[in-house]
């Protein structure tokens, strides 16, 4: 059972386009994180959102945590080739999850010139 579903699974766009990646669950999370992973490397944390409804911006990336803390989105404005990579959402389930970080299935993004 996959607790965190990401969509789309694959995304190929042209430089300058905008995109949104979604991370959904039926579970409530105490916090949710977004990672980016480049080929041959481990995931690197981009942001952590904690409060329902919270919005955080990191340059051209905007992260939002759903009001009910069950979902999140990542919006990239004017995508660049350097944004290419695997984007993973991950969260700590509020109850019953212990100290385990649950990962989504990932969204593979390719930004072409």
């Amino acid at each position: 059972t996959q607790l965190l579903e990401q969509s789309p699974q694959f995304l190929s766009i042209q430089e300058g386009e905008n995109l949104t990646v979604y991370c959904n669950s039926s579970s409530v999370f105490s916090s949710l994180q977004w990672y980016r992973q480049e080929p041959g490397e481990g995931p690197v944390l981009l942001v952590t959102v904690v409060t329902g409804g919270e919005v955080k911006k990191l340059k051209r990336l905007t992260f939002q945590f759903g009001d009910a803390r069950k979902d999140s989105s990542l919006h990239i404005t004017a995508a660049q080739p350097g944004d290419t990579g695997l984007y993973l959402c991950a969260g700590f389930i509020l109850t019953g999850g212990g100290n385990k970080l649950t990962f989504g299935t990932g969204t593979q993004l390719k930004v072409e010139l």
Partner: protein, 112 residues
């Protein structure tokens, strides 16, 4: 350099052989984790450790053994490798529970 390292980076082995993947961190983080990453499954937790000599199972522990005699090392052993254990293995560490995890570069394992 300080950080988290994994060795080997690439490993090819045969079915039935024992394989040990090494993980070393220099931050003195309390928590360490082993994940495997497979297409369509994302990252799945194999084992984790809250401190030296304390380990616990994750989502997919079968066929794996871990130990943590020292805070900085967390080796993962495949006692008798199977083809289904072909994967990319990531080690991670965090200072406290439910905090940011820092990942190593991964070990790519192929079991023939």
């Amino acid at each position: 350099d300080a950080g988290i390292t994994q060795s080997p980076r690439y490993k090819i082995t045969e079915t039935g052989r024992q394989v040990t993947l090494m993980c070393h961190q220099t931050w003195s983080h309390s928590y360490m984790f082993w994940y495997r990453q497979d297409l369509g499954h994302g990252l799945r937790l194999i084992y984790y450790s809250a401190a030296a000599d304390i380990t616990d199972k994750g989502e997919v522990p079968d066929g794996y053994v871990v130990s943590r005699s020292k805070t900085e090392n967390f080796p993962l052993t495949l006692e008798s490798a199977t083809r289904s254990q072909t994967s990319v293995y990531f080690c991670a560490s965090s200072e406290q529970k439910r905090e940011t995890q820092y990942f190593g570069p991964g070990t790519r394992l192929l079991v023939l």
